[in-house]
């Protein structure tokens, strides 16, 4: 289950964070997303390590913890997409697919002329679209 998706700006500022847990505990997900920036930074600053992934937006699994997983995606404009899931067996292809859709939704949202760049995304239609993407996550593989 995806518990949280986030868009983080190029200044590492949160642009959009949406949690999908029932409990009122979004703050811990803020923390996870925020700390995962360390890993993104490390990958970006250490091109040696990322190696063949250098030209790819998908950063793959950021955290190999044993209770949740964090995936990252970095756009050309250094906007980061973060996905936190409690599924421990997720196919990379699914995550890639998810990020691709998420990226498209983000691009549409920031193309809105009324959106101020580097400001939080408040668009309701973006939120709806994201929740649709989140709901459909992993369905393609199972169904």
């Amino acid at each position: 289950m995806i518990v949280c998706v986030a868009v983080v700006g190029n200044q590492n500022n949160p642009l959009y964070i949406q949690s999908f847990t029932e409990a009122d505990d979004a703050l811990k997900l803020h923390h996870i997303v925020h700390c995962s920036l360390d890993v993104v930074d490390e990958r970006v600053n250490n091109p040696k390590k990322s190696g063949p992934m250098l030209n790819e937006a998908f950063l793959g699994l950021l955290y190999p913890t044993d209770n949740y997983r964090v995936y990252g995606y970095l756009t050309n404009t250094k906007v980061k997409f973060i996905l936190v899931t409690t599924d421990l067996d997720v196919r990379d292809a699914d995550v890639r697919n998810f990020f691709r859709k998420f990226h498209a939704a983000y691009v549409d949202a920031v193309s809105n002329p009324f959106h101020v760049p580097d400001k939080k995304i408040t668009s309701r239609s973006f939120a709806e679209r994201v929740s649709t993407i989140v709901k459909s996550f992993g369905l393609s593989s199972t169904g």
Partner: protein
């Protein structure tokens, strides 16, 4: 083959280096042993690795063993093959011989026997005992050695070397080492080949039922061990890696096996200790138990990695191993003791960290690898920390764990231990339960500071109470029976055993149940009713005590203080290592956790420092939600530490956060703190940045535009983010000039206190005159008590978004534009034509504001000499419609608009007070004319000109000046000064001419009146007061029928007077009236907007009537020449005429008509003074203009005066005239008698000439 396992392990444990066998044929070993063993270990030995590539081994340890020793002798051939790795890698044959025969007969056959075993790598060391001084023996030895070489060495391979005991050759040892190494290399290659083949054979059978992992393991590990002995660690590591892969494959695909991990002490990770358990203990029928064996493999790998000096890789592999092993533990959790997984991970992480850090040396690796290492260490600490917290929570220390996002993130996503059955309450624990319950009741949930109400973050994936009871309830009735059924068996097998079918939960239960049986009532009740929280804690604690074998860990969980100590240790370990890695965020966040403990312990200083770091991290990147969680803690610390400045700033920052993060009540609490502190007795004023709390902007719309030097008021919108009204004692705003940042900062201050309401407020500030340029808002400072607020951000439009932390980047909109100095008003004369002199005339001053208000302007009028203003006179002011503008408006033509566009004409009377006039309001924006009655005073009498005496007119004559000074602007700061020139003139200009001389002696005097003004003049009457010597012929008054005579502007009329010489008084003694006076009674009707007009009625003098205007002009009449003495004749000019630019000689002839009397003659000394007058515009005189010429006093004497002249203009011009100033005009007879003209031709083409430039001036 599995039977060899025990043997294999003992062999492996005893042998740790390569063996070199010494075949001591001639009993030499005791004498040379020391020298040989000194060479060990070998340096830089060249060996081949598994792929056959040469590798230099830096140090190769080896051991010389005599073949006669028991270690090498007592081995069965089968064993030899299996444990081949321990067999000698080289055989050194030591011989000596000094006799050739002896060599041939005894030694050689024996040697042949030794070396015939082809499996062995051998070589012969010939030891020469001959003393170098003993030539004989040494020669012999040489011979024997030569023979030896010939017999045993081949071309392919040297198998012999010679050792002189007394003086070994220089290169002997090198030779020996290389020979030994060569042997070892060859042996090693052969054995690797052997093992490889065997392993391959086994691998091929892997999928068959006969496959036995143990055999494979022994071979593989033998190979690995051999490599390790040869210090080819890299190859050894690869073998272990392959072994691990192969094992995992069998585990994953194979049938269900016993996992292991249920022995006493298994909870302590053995991943750094390969010898933890004997392999025989963990062996299953054909394989090994996963729990132990995987740890064993990792331990072997880790040791190799340390030998390879790669602790970083050990850490990184270790971390992954722990994660994956933890997953395996989770799989088998139901068979493992309660919370085994958590305990194992804690111990594994700590053990791995201890091992890696002890092998790690700073600065030996690249910086990024180093960072990676610290990151891994931090991760391991962090992992241990999380598991430790979980255990602590289970035993009831949850209320002491900070419910921070980091703890919540790790704990609430971490599932509860999935024990098959939740531990039950031990029977004798009721007192513990009571105590625990008391403790639970005593602990109150820690209240947040500032009374912030927030749902605490969860530290558990699901509520523990429910989870524990659910797990118990899942035991259905059937299960319950099973439980009891299984009991007898379990009691038997409760000890440590290798029996595989025995599942772990039963064992766990065995512990508790064996006791519960003693008091079955308690047991039953605990099954029936749900457990209480305290009971769960106690039960978990009890279970954990059974699980945990590590005393230190047990101690850490034994009391709250111990827990806190360990917690702090782990947190610090993680934080410090993260700080040295790339993951600074992780480190800082954990610092916050350390701060929480410091806070609890009263170490507020330390806590504040750490919290500050955390806040800076969150604030810097705009993670306000997280910031809102930490900032109140920081504020609380600062409050306790009495750090007023910090506390204030924190409160303000709390207020600055997004409004949705705190309830209004909480925000109000922050504000009241701020206000309370601000007005408290702080020693020093505190400066606080409130940029995101108070923002300001200019009002929307164009910037305020001011003219240079004008003050103004600036209106600014200040957006207050305070939840309540806040009173600022003063406010000050800086303006920054966009053209020059250095000097352009001006502060505007409000004088009075300002109350800011939540949301937008409009405040106005007085703006002193500014330099020209455009200005933007700089920053805003406000003062509340001792608190100085300072905001340097400004929102563009309206209230700022509260997440607007990057608003500084917005381009600033100019708020104020001060234009460069320019004309703001124009004062001018309303017309340019002349006014009547000596009469009160309206002088119109046109005042034209140039896009600038003249409100309340004051005009100072200062008249120059020859002008006067009657103070009593009323001054009129009327609006002035610019004709050009009017035209435009007419062109627009719309009738409806016309009224509004063409405002009504305004008119007002004003008074002059002290030479000043104040303008009415209506005149502030429109052009207007000020009519000032002014009289120009001139005493001069107008003089008529005749054809003889030309008019000498100077433009200056009638000119008067009026100095004007206009003070205007908001505070009369603008001044405009102007001096107006007004032209005054007489109404007429009179010229006279005698038109005819009648026979009766009457003269017709024509008086021409030229109108000088732009007004219609009406002549009502005219008369001439004649000078002495003349009289009117008809009484002197002209016929009235002519009058009134109307003269339109710039036209002229003529009046004829008939006069004659007064013969009676011809010789009148005194000339009383030297001039005639022409009197004209006239009226004027003109528009003051154009020029001359009717004089202003002077109310004081009153009696003046319009028609009473009298114009007087003096006329000089000349009596004809009656007594000529001299004749002056202008000699004719050359016939070809005059031409501009050509010199010409003008000639006059002077002739004396009568003798001069003596007196006269003596006076003039026979000379005549002459003067040439010429218009300088027309002529240039080349000779002397004034001079004396001699002329004899006798009658008839004559002289010609010639002057060189050059005409300058073409046309009919007056020629120069010769005058004789000494002689009375009446005595000179001129020819021609009157003025005459000569014709000057234009200059010939293409000739250049000069004319004076000043002609027009």
């Amino acid at each position: 083959m599995a039977n060899f396992l025990a043997q294999f392990q003992t062999i492996k444990n005893t042998s740790d280096r390569l063996v070199i066998a010494v075949e001591d044929v001639s009993d030499l070993w005791p004498t040379i042993k020391t020298a040989f063993e000194e060479r060990l270990p070998f340096k830089r030995a060249l060996l081949n690795n598994k792929t056959g590539n040469p590798v230099f081994v830096e140090t190769l340890p080896a051991e010389f063993i005599l073949t006669t020793e028991a270690r090498l002798r007592s081995r069965f051939p089968q064993e030899q093959l299996l444990f081949w790795f321990r067999e000698p890698y080289a055989t050194v044959v030591l011989v000596t011989c000094e006799d050739l025969d002896e060599f041939k007969t005894i030694l050689k056959p024996r040697l042949k026997l030794i070396v015939q075993n082809d499996d062995r790598e051998w070589f012969i060391v010939f030891v020469s005992k001959a003393h170098p001084s003993n030539d004989q023996t040494s020669k012999m030895a040489k011979k024997v050695y030569a023979k030896l070489e010939a017999d045993f060495s081949s071309k392919k391979r040297e198998r012999c070397c010679k050792y002189d005991m007394y003086c070994p050759e220089a290169n002997f040892w090198e030779d020996l080492e290389s020979k030994i190494t060569e042997c070892i290399r060859n042996t090693l290659d052969r054995r690797v080949q052997f093992y490889d083949d065997e392993i391959r054979k086994l691998s091929e059978q892997r999928l068959m039922p006969v496959w036995n992992f143990c055999n494979f393991f022994i071979l593989k590990e033998s190979l690995a061990f051999m490599f390790e002995m040869a210090h080819l660690h890299e190859d050894a590591l690869r073998e272990y890696d392959e072994l691990e892969l192969c094992y995992l494959e069998t585990v994953n695909t194979g049938k269900k096996r016993d996992f292991g991990g249920v022995d006493q002490g298994d909870d302590q990770a053995a991943l750094m200790n390969p010898g933890n358990k004997a392999l025989t203990q963990i062996v299953l029928d054909d394989s090994f138990r996963e729990f132990e064996f995987r740890q064993y493999l990792f331990a072997c790998q880790a040791q190799l990695l340390f030998k390879l000096n790669r602790p970083v890789e050990a850490a990184s592999r270790g971390y992954l191993f722990i994660i994956s092993f933890s997953k395996s533990l989770a799989w088998h959790e139901s068979v493992l003791p309660f919370s085994m997984r958590e305990v194992w991970v804690i111990t594994a992480c700590l053990a791995l960290n201890d091992a890696t850090t002890s092998h790690y040396e700073d600065g030996l690796v690249a910086p990024d690898v180093e960072k990676e290492f610290y990151r891994l260490t931090g991760d391991l600490y962090s992992l241990a920390r999380v598991k430790f917290m979980r255990l602590a929570y289970l035993v009831g220390y949850g209320s002491d764990i900070e419910r921070s996002p980091v703890n919540s993130a790790s704990l609430s996503l971490l599932p509860w231990p999935k024990a098959a059955v939740w531990p039950l309450l031990p029977p004798d624990a009721s007192s513990d339960v009571l105590e625990k319950e008391k403790l639970i009741l005593q602990t109150t949930p820690r209240a947040k500071h500032f009374g912030i109400q927030r749902k605490p973050l969860p530290l558990e994936p699901t509520v523990l109470l429910r989870e524990a009871n659910r797990r118990r309830a899942s035991l259905s009735a059937g299960n319950m029976f099973e439980m009891f059924d299984g009991r007898p068996g379990t009691i038997d097998g409760s000890g440590l055993d290798a029996s595989t079918r025995m599942s772990s939960p039963q064992k766990v239960r065995a512990g508790s149940m064996s006791r519960t049986n003693s008091s079955p009532g308690n047991f039953d009740s605990s099954v029936d009713r749900p457990m209480r929280l305290a009971e769960i804690y106690i039960a978990s604690e009890h279970a954990l005590k059974q699980t945990i074998s590590n005393t230190e860990l047990l101690k850490s969980l034994s009391s709250l203080e111990e827990f806190e100590q360990k917690y702090l240790e782990l947190t610090k370990g993680a934080a410090n290592n993260y700080h040295r890695s790339w993951w600074s965020r992780h480190g800082v966040v954990l610092d916050g956790e350390i701060a929480a403990v410091s806070f609890k312990r009263g170490n507020f200083d330390q806590a504040a420092k750490s919290y500050e770091k955390v806040c800076a991290l969150y604030a810097g990147e705009g993670w306000q939600d997280l910031l809102a969680e930490v900032l109140p803690n920081l504020a609380e610390c600062q409050k306790i530490l009495n750090d007023e400045a910090g506390y204030l700033s924190s409160c303000v920052r709390l207020l600055s956060l997004d409004g949705r993060l705190f309830a209004t009540k909480e925000r109000e609490a922050f504000q009241s703190e701020v206000v309370r502190l601000a007005h408290s007795e702080m020693k020093d004023p505190v400066h606080v940045d409130v940029s995101s709390l108070i923002t300001f902007s200019g009002n929307p719309g164009p910037p305020l535009e001011l003219c240079d030097g004008d003050p103004g008021t600036l209106s600014v919108t200040v957006w207050s983010g305070f939840p309540n009204d806040i009173t600022l004692d003063s406010i000050s705003l800086t303006l920054m000039a966009t053209f020059n940042a250095d000097e352009g900062i001006k502060a505007l201050k409000s004088s009075s206190a300002i109350v800011l309401h939540p949301g937008p407020n409009t405040i106005t500030l007085d703006l002193p005159p500014q330099k020209p340029g455009s200005y933007v808002l700089g920053n805003l400072t406000g003062q509340v008590g001792q608190l100085r607020l300072r905001s340097h951000s400004f929102s563009k439009v309206g209230p700022a978004d509260s997440d607007d932390f990057m608003s500084y980047e917005k381009p600033a909109k100019p708020i104020l534009k001060v234009s460069k100095p320019r004309a703001l008003v124009d004062l001018d004369a309303a017309f340019s034509s002349a006014l009547l002199i000596n009469e009160n005339q309206w002088v119109g001053i046109l005042i034209r504001p140039l896009n600038y208000s003249l409100k309340a302007s004051v005009l100072h009028i200062d008249t120059g000499p020859g002008l006067e203003i009657q103070d009593s006179h009323v001054i009129e002011m009327e609006s002035y419609a610019d004709p050009s503008q009017n035209e435009d408006k007419h062109v627009q033509g719309d009738g409806a608009q016309k009224g509004s566009l063409n405002p009504e004409k305004k008119f007002e009377y004003l008074n002059l007070v002290d030479g000043k006039i104040e303008f009415p309001d209506w005149a502030s924006d429109i052009s207007s004319i000020l009519w000032v009655p002014i009289r120009a005073i001139s005493d001069e009498l107008s003089r008529a000109s005749s054809s003889v005496a030309t008019r000498r007119q100077s433009i200056v004559d009638g000119m008067r000046t009026i100095a004007l000074k206009l003070e205007f602007g908001i505070s009369h700061n603008q001044i405009f000064e102007r001096t107006l020139a007004v032209h005054f003139t007489d109404p007429f200009y009179v010229t006279t001419r005698v038109t005819d001389k009648c026979h009766d002696g009457a003269l017709l005097l024509q008086v021409a009146l030229h109108s000088e003004v732009k007004a219609t003049l009406t002549i009502y009457d005219a008369w001439l007061d004649l000078q002495d010597g003349f009289v009117h012929t008809n009484g002197g008054t002209p016929s009235l029928s002519f009058f009134p005579l109307v003269i339109s502007p710039s036209s002229k009329v003529g009046i004829l007077f008939s006069i004659c010489l007064d013969k009676e008084n011809a010789e009148g003694a005194a000339q009383e009236k030297p001039e005639s006076i022409l009197n004209i009674k006239y009226g004027i009707s003109g528009d003051r907007a154009v020029g001359a007009h009717q004089p202003v009625l002077d109310e004081s003098s009153g009696a003046h009537s319009f028609q009473d205007l009298i114009f007087r002009s003096a006329i000089t009449l000349q009596r004809p020449v009656l007594d000529p003495c001299l004749a002056l004749g202008f000699l004719p000019l050359p016939s070809n005429g005059l031409r501009v630019g050509q010199l010409i000689t003008m000639k006059w002839r002077v002739e004396r008509l009568k003798d001069l009397d003596e007196i006269e003659a003596s006076k003039h000394n026979g000379e005549v003074l002459y003067e040439v007058n010429a218009n300088s515009e027309s002529w240039m005189i080349a000779g002397r203009k004034i001079g004396h010429v001699s002329l004899s006093p006798e009658q008839g004497s004559r002289i010609t005066i010639s002057v060189l002249c050059m005409p300058l203009v073409a046309g009919y011009v007056r020629p120069p005239q010769l005058g004789l100033p000494d002689v009375d005009q009446t005595n000179i007879s001129c020819k021609p008698a009157g003025p005459h003209l000569v014709c000057v031709l234009p200059p010939a083409l293409s000739s250049s000439f000069c004319i004076p430039v000043n002609s027009s001036a």
